[in-house]
């Protein structure tokens, strides 16, 4: 398989900055919403993707979530975690969509081919496909959130209402599964 240089993961968007942006959004500042979107859309999309297993559906929900954040930013209380607050909204909206749709819509080849995702490399696509297709619901949500939101395992546990030990064991199990599948594919 191709070697890839490991880069340090970027730190999660700074909590104080997110709080400042949320305060701006609460005041109706559209530039603040634009900055917040740039900073948090990956994490929100990861939450939606983890629940819905379909990138197109997750894109729709991600857009809805930021509209909801625009409406609800005034209710955010600064003593909390701004990222967790936004991800709670994302989780609720994705779950509602899932409930109303009745089931997830697994992605077929054609869905991947038509997905608007400029810059998605074949390796990234393969990794994401593996995560969407071969992990359990909880494993997928934990792995995607950990990769994309910058939240710690403990915070993910609080968000998903799972004990830390469960989050850790599922995370490691999921990573093993993904590695086995990807390295098997590459071999």
């Amino acid at each position: 398989m191709q070697q890839e240089t490991a880069k340090p993961l970027e730190p999660s968007p700074d909590r104080a900055r997110l709080e400042t942006l949320l305060a701006g959004v609460a005041q109706g500042d559209r530039e603040a919403l634009a900055d917040l979107y740039a900073a948090a859309k990956g994490a929100v999309h990861a939450m939606a993707l983890g629940i819905l297993k379909n990138a197109q559906d997750a894109q729709d929900v991600t857009q809805d979530v930021f509209v909801r954040i625009w409406d609800a930013a005034g209710t955010y209380r600064p003593q909390g975690s701004p990222m967790a607050w936004m991800l709670t909204i994302a989780r609720n909206m994705a779950l509602m969509r899932l409930r109303q749709a009745g089931r997830t819509r697994p992605m077929e080849d054609a869905d991947w081919d038509t997905l608007p995702a400029p810059g998605l490399s074949p390796e990234e696509r393969m990794a994401l496909r593996a995560a969407l297709s071969s992990l359990t619901d909880a494993e997928r949500q934990i792995v995607l959130l950990h990769a994309a939101s910058g939240l710690k395992h403990r915070e993910i546990g609080q968000l998903l209402d799972l004990p830390l030990a469960t989050v850790l064991s599922k995370y490691h199990r999921a990573m093993k599964k993904l590695r086995a599948q990807l390295e098997g594919d590459d071999a």
Binding site: E4, A6, L9, R30, L33, A34, Y37, K41, G42, H45, A46, L49, A58, Q63, D64, V67, R68, W70, D71, A72, G74, T75, I89, R91, N92, M93, A94, L95, M96, L98, R99, Q100, A101, L115, P116, A117, P118, G119, L120, S121, E124, R125, A127, L128, T136, D137, A138, V143, L144, H146, A147, A148, D161, L162, R173, K176, R179, A180, L182, E183
Partner: protein
């Protein structure tokens, strides 16, 4: 590949597949801050509302106009007026070549929907079907029309009855095509209407289209006690439902339904980060389904559509279905025994009946899957692991043969079941740990569930107790 490398790949994949549609979001955030009522999501298909009383009422509106036509030779002369109504009301005028002369939002929501099309100006000169497709696409993107009961009304006003009818037909087909592509479930209603200055004026006063005014007028004709202006404020979905149920009374409207629930729950609107109001006026008890999300928990209320009374236990089964319940924060998860006790009690089966329970994570919620049987039936329960709520229950009568004790010759015995599993895995008993073998009854059949661990893997087998056949097997990483 290290964990860090794999995570980086996933992180990049998520970011590259995340949407890049800030403009669309900003367009949706233009107005109505803090006061958004969503009409979202779809579960069942209900295309083309073309039957029953509604269709009859719409057909009754088909009025063949006469006169006019003086200015048709001129490219800028209005040949047809087309309106699209959901909650947003949008009106287009077209010339005889079906090119758009003007497009405007008639109410605030209509203006918002057109925000990313220059307020409608960008559509000027476009072919009518292209413009309508663009508008319907914007409606869908803005969250209208994907509610399972939502409805769009297309009205065509044209003094040339034939052309009006053809346009109506083409637009319905075109809109339906867009909605199908969007996997949408909204109903498409359509009508041809005749110019009526009095109705135009009433429509203008209420910021609705003449087409929607026709629909309102029809309801007033059914029940003269209802107020035109109040009805004009309702969505097309509510109006359609009202016609269907014979317009017995005036619905309180979505805003009032939300306020009723907030009063009932003792909450201010700013305490509820997410809510959703869905009219269900065509149910036996007409009501508004109001969903609030408070502290990460979803709460569902019904509000009587005419009295505003908050209902309890009047919801339809589909509404009662809790779906993926959100795990309750700070509540310890149920133990296996507690989950089994809830299921046994509900089934009215002796509390000491052996039950097979396993945890499962489905649709985003953790639950216990509890199975047991008594002399005549097999039961399957799903119990919410956080709240103890019964998410689903199933009772299935056992076939006569299965209700009798298995004949001695029909049971290979635990040792043979174990041997069959080990043989399949290519392992011997001294190579495995955590060995479990349990007799179970499923699908009216006696089975052995065999589990063990070896070499970093977990193995699970289901063996037919009568034949020793391997019915199911799974090998998975042992964490």
């Amino acid at each position: 590949m290290t964990d860090e490398e794999l995570e980086l790949r996933l992180k990049n994949a998520v970011e590259h597949t995340a949407p890049d549609d800030l403009d669309a979001i900003l367009a949706r955030c233009g107005t109505g801050k803090g006061n958004v009522i969503d009409m979202k999501e779809t579960a069942k298909k209900r295309k083309h509302w073309t039957k029953g009383l509604v269709a009859a009422c719409l057909a009754a509106l088909l009025i063949v106009g006469g006169g006019g036509g003086l200015f048709y030779q001129q490219a800028y002369a209005v040949a047809s007026v087309i309106s699209l109504d959901v909650n947003p009301s949008i009106e287009l005028t077209v010339n005889k070549s079906e090119k758009v002369l003007s497009c405007k939002g008639l109410n605030e929501e209509g203006i918002t929907v057109l925000a990313d099309m220059g307020g409608g100006a960008d559509l000027k000169g476009a072919k009518l079907d292209v413009a309508v497709n663009a508008i319907v696409g914007a409606l869908v993107r803005n969250g209208y029309l994907d509610n399972l009961d939502s409805a769009i009304l297309i009205s065509v006003e044209d003094s040339d009855a034939d052309r009006g009818a053809r346009l109506q037909q083409e637009l319905v087909a075109s809109v339906d095509g867009v909605l199908q592509t969007a996997e949408n479930s909204a109903s498409v209603l359509s009508q041809s209407v005749a110019a009526d200055k009095a109705l135009d004026s009433r429509a203008q006063q209420n910021n609705i289209s003449t087409g929607k005014a026709y629909l309102v007028d029809q309801i007033v004709a059914m029940n003269g006690a209802l107020d035109f202006n109040a009805l004009a404020a309702l969505s097309v979905e509510e109006l359609r439902d009202l016609i269907q149920i014979g317009a017995p009374d005036m619905p309180i409207g979505q805003d009032a339904a939300l306020e009723a629930v907030l009063d009932y729950a003792g909450l201010g609107r700013d305490q509820v980060p997410y809510y959703d109001v869905d009219p269900e006026l065509d149910e036996p008890t007409p009501y508004y389904d109001v969903e609030l999300v408070i502290d990460g928990r979803e709460q569902d209320y019904g509000v009587h559509a005419f009295t505003g009374e908050v209902l309890q236990g009047v919801k339809t089964p589909s509404v009662m279905n809790p779906g993926p319940a959100l795990p309750q924060a700070d509540t310890p998860a149920l133990t296996e025994a507690e989950a089994a006790a809830i299921a046994l009690a509900d089934a009215g089966v002796a509390g000491d009946t052996p039950a097979l329970s396993k945890q499962d994570w489905d649709d985003g919620a953790l639950h216990w899957d509890v199975e047991f049987r008594d002399e005549t039936s097999e039961y399957d329960y799903e119990i919410d692991a956080a709240t103890g709520a019964i998410l689903s229950s199933q009772k299935e009568a056992l076939p006569m043969a299965a209700t009798q004790a298995p004949a001695s010759g029909g049971d290979i015995g635990e040792d043979a079941a174990l041997a069959a599993a080990l043989d399949h895995a290519g392992l011997t008993q001294d190579q495995v740990s955590r060995l479990k073998c349990q007799k179970d009854f499923d699908d009216g059949r006696t089975e052995y569930e065999v589990e063990f661990k070896s070499g970093g893997y977990e193995y699970e087998y289901t063996i037919d107790a009568a034949t020793g056949a391997i019915l199911d097997h799974e090998r998975d990483f042992d964490d």
